[in-house]
């Protein structure tokens, strides 16, 4: 060792060292956060940054916003300094932003799935460890990221509208909030449509339908925004406004979850239970509707029977649509799905209807329809004479309450009849062809066209019936029957036979389906294969058994 001191490397000043340390910590944290991000979000963000389409769209948005500002200010002129023209400028920016958020982003979501299928990257993606939910979530968050980028690009312009006066901050936030929610909802629907088929021709048809639908939604959004901005200001000070907004938000969220889960189930492998999560959401939705209806019936005390008839029709249509989709499920329950079937008596009685299968779906939809009809009729009864509650306006007569009750009974009969006939047809057609959700829905559409479209045509072409109103020929025409009943809240002349005819028809169809229902009810739990049990035990040893078995298990 030499006696000379070794030259030491020049140390950076302490402040710079602190910054470097802080930077290294931040980088490590960011990287760890990046690891947690959905891989599809990361990949699509990277792709978008290099994509010409995104650069062009983003550039166009900025150019339109700048152009709108210049033209708008030129038209407003000196009034910009002392007038209240914020709403006008906001409307300009809203149209630009709404086009990006309601047309470009959702269509991009639809195309991103379609392109994956066209380029066959979807197959490779589907066999990775990414679950179907992660794939759909990745696509949705990618759409959300795009929305935020567009929104942040135009936010200085939106701030500018506030400075121009004439529009308050809450209105701006409220409108933008709903715009983002609408964009997210439309993106979820677009993703669901993207999962419906892998056939090129059908994809093209779906693309056209998606664009038309998105443009329609864009038009509706513009119309609503214009009404809010120029005709009817939002009554923020009224509590009912926020109650209604809360109700709308909860309904929106429930449907968003339903659509998201439907898209997930579409790309989930066949042996997985793809139906139970959807049915749980349907029940939650039903409970949500019940809650809001109770609020409206008891707290707000809406005394108009038409309101209850309207609610009933909406709920019945909801269950009818859900039932139509559930009929497309496979009647064979996979061994994997059978591993988790309820075993106890109570569990089997109450939870069997949550199992996948068209027949269980049929019964499930009927239960939902029955509950909806009972709930709305009860609502009418509570606020009517039967409940003895004095409501705003006139008291409801027993006849009118009975009208709502009758509407419920007939709606239930129609749902049982139409879904039941479709179930019989699907079972028959499955001997020769594969019927999926899309096919089942199409069968239902055809049935409705025949049942509701044909009788009015026949009646119109028949001399004795031509000039009459509702006749027994319209027994299968639920549009005519229910709208007449809802309008009068009591049986229109000539409809008395239907009261007996429809339940008989519905019961007959239900009885014909009993064999299929019983077959699906007979499935029992099966044990896990040994290899699966071995791996599960190796990955997570089973916890000690609970002291008392649950009667619901």
């Amino acid at each position: 060792m030499s006696g000379l001191a070794e030259p030491t490397a020049a140390q950076p000043p302490p402040a710079r060292r602190r910054v470097a340390r802080w930077w290294a910590t931040a980088e490590s944290l960011l990287e760890r956060a990046g690891d947690r991000l959905n891989p599809i979000l990361v990949k699509e963000a990277r792709q978008a940054l290099k994509s010409r389409l995104f650069v062009v769209t983003f550039g166009l948005l900025l150019i339109c916003a700048w152009g709108g500002t210049i033209v708008g200010l030129a038209i407003i002129g000196p009034e910009a300094a002392f007038g209240f023209r914020g709403s006008t400028m906001f409307a300009v920016y809203f149209v630009i932003l709404a086009f990006a958020l309601l047309v470009i982003v959702p269509f991009g979501a639809f195309r991103s799935l379609a392109v994956e299928q066209e380029d066959r990257t979807y197959e490779l993606l589907s066999i990775t460890a990414l679950g179907p939910a992660q794939i759909i979530r990745g696509k949705l968050t990618s759409a959300l990221l795009q929305m935020l980028i567009y929104l942040s690009a135009i936010s200085p312009c939106l701030g500018f509208t506030y400075l121009l006066r004439g529009i308050d901050f809450v209105t701006i936030l409220y409108i933008l909030g709903w715009l983002v929610l609408a964009s997210l909802g439309l993106s979820a629907i677009a993703l669901l449509l993207g999962t419906l088929t892998e056939q090129r021709q059908l994809q093209v048809i779906l693309s056209v339908m998606t664009i038309v639908g998105l443009l329609f939604a864009f038009g509706v959004a513009i119309s609503v925004a214009m009404i809010v901005l120029f005709e009817e200001a939002l009554p923020f000070s009224e509590p009912q406004f926020w109650t209604t907004s809360g109700a709308l938000l909860s309904v929106y969220l429930s449907y968003l979850v339903l659509i998201y889960l439907a898209a997930v189930s579409r790309i989930t492998f066949a042996s997985q239970n793809r139906s139970t999560p959807l049915r749980i959401v349907m029940v939650v939705q039903h409970m949500l509707f019940t809650g809001w209806l109770a609020v409206l019936a008891i707290v707000v005390q809406i005394g108009d029977p038409d309101f209850y008839a309207f609610c009933m029709i909406i709920l019945v249509l909801h269950w009818y649509a859900m039932g139509s989709v559930m009929l497309g499920e496979s009647p064979e329950l996979s061994l994997r799905a059978r591993r988790r079937l309820p075993q106890s008596f109570l569990g089997r009685v109450f939870f069997t209807w949550f199992n996948p299968g068209p027949a269980t779906g049929y019964v499930f939809a009927l239960c939902g329809t029955l509950a909806s009809a009972a709930m709305t009729a009860a609502g009418a009864a509570v606020v009517g004479n039967l409940g003895g509650v004095v409501v705003r306006g006139a008291r409801l007569s027993a006849d009118r309450v009975f009208g709502v009750f009758l509407l419920g009974v007939l709606s239930l009969c129609y749902v049982a009849f139409y879904l039941g006939v479709a179930l019989l047809l699907i079972r028959l057609l499955r001997r020769w062809a594969r019927i999926d959700v899309l096919g089942a829905t199409l069968i239902q559409v055809v049935l409705v066209l025949v049942g509701c479209g044909l009788p009015p045509v026949i009646q119109a072409m028949s001399l004795p019936w031509r000039s009459q109103g509702w006749t027994v020929l319209q027994a299968t025409n639920f549009f005519w029957t229910l709208s007449d009943l809802a309008a009068g809240q009591r049986l229109p002349p000539g409809m008395e036979q239907t009261v007996w005819l429809l339940p008989a028809m519905a019961l007959a169809v239900f009885v014909l389906n009993l064999r299929g229902i019983l077959r699906e009810v007979e499935y029992v739990r099966v044990a896990k294969p040994t290899r699966v049990a071995e791996e599960d035990a190796a990955l997570a040893p089973p916890p000690p058994p609970p002291p008392r078995p649950s009667p619901w298990d």
Partner: protein
């Protein structure tokens, strides 16, 4: 013997009246390389897609490491690396990003992910092209990238569908070396290819499929002994009179499967080297102007030609 890492059990896959896979059963044990061969449309890709959980069998089942591809595809996917007969690449993505995406998709995080991507790029020789856009890669490089994608989560089972299709000789040899490397690592490999000479060098076991039916399984020697008595393939080149030689040979004992290729004639001959020498002498004595005469053991190609009938559906 070790347990089967791949098992097809009475596998059927029908597309309407077409029986793409018709009651196929075989096993591949841990560490084995199984060559899956057959004419175009024989059902190789369909079986492989079912194994990769991309398709559902009409009947029967397939298992990877004991897990059913029908009932537990999620568990199968974690153990399987599938390289299909197409690339499946994204636009506006470079090599490193592509592999990074799939590493993330297999839930690899932080250093483990970086190590996996580096390992795969090094193994496939793509490290020098890490920042290159995928669209600019040659076919051979894309094929390497796809092999890398299938390997990124280090699966014990690999299913490779025609990995050498459309590659130039150099790229093919390089790919073959990579697959040999994987076999040395102890991976169980199911590989289909129509370049039979290459398969013969790599595979421990061969399965021959035609019109959806598995018609032979075993080593090349086993199949050969099962199909016909062992024989050599003899090639004779003549200056002229090849057609006449064909007829002349048909009258000789132990001669069969005569095929003509220009001025060269190929036939199967049952007998030892002495019998072959006698045959050559007889040919010359009969006046044929022989310019070349050689005998060799049967190759996989010869076995394949004997076993299959060239039928398509």
């Amino acid at each position: 013997m070790s347990h089967a890492m791949i098992e097809l059990r009475g596998l059927h896959r029908f597309f309407g009246p077409t029986r793409a896979v018709d009651d196929v059963s075989f096993q591949v044990h841990a560490g084995q390389v199984f060559g899956y061969i057959g004419p175009n449309g024989a059902g190789k890709t369909t079986s492989m897609r079912i194994l990769a959980t991309l398709d559902q069998p009409t009947a029967g089942d397939a298992f990877v490491d004991g897990f059913s591809v029908v009932e537990d595809p999620d568990r199968v996917r974690r153990r399987l690396g599938f390289m299909p007969d197409y690339f499946g690449t994204y636009a506006n993505v470079d090599v490193a990003e592509y592999l990074d995406f799939y590493a993330r998709a297999y839930h690899l995080r932080g250093p483990a992910r970086r190590e996996a991507v580096d390992r795969v790029m090094h193994f496939t020789g793509l490290d020098v092209l890490a920042d290159k856009p995928i669209n600019g890669l040659s076919k051979g490089m894309k094929q390497r990238l796809c092999l890398g994608r299938a390997l990124v989560h280090d699966p014990p089972v690999m299913v490779l569908d025609e990995p050498a299709a459309g590659l130039d000789p150099r790229a093919r040899i390089e790919l073959r070396e990579m697959i040999r490397g994987l076999a040395k690592q102890g991976k169980t490999i199911l590989i289909s290819s129509h370049i039979l000479t290459e398969l013969a060098e790599m595979c421990d076991v061969v399965g021959i499929i035609e019109r959806g039916k598995l018609i032979a399984v075993g080593t090349v020697d086993e199949i050969q002994s099962r199909v016909r008595r062992p024989h050599n393939v003899v090639e004779v080149a003549l200056l002229d009179g090849v057609d006449v030689l064909g007829n002349w040979l048909l009258e000789r004992p132990g001669v069969s499967a005569i095929a003509l290729d220009g001025q060269t004639l190929r036939f199967a001959h049952e007998g030892n080297a002495e019998a072959e020498a006698d045959l050559l002498r007889a040919m010359i004595e009969a006046g044929f102007r022989v310019s070349a005469f050689g005998a060799r053991r049967q190759t996989l190609e010869d076995v394949f030609m004997q076993v299959t009938q060239g039928l398509v559906q």
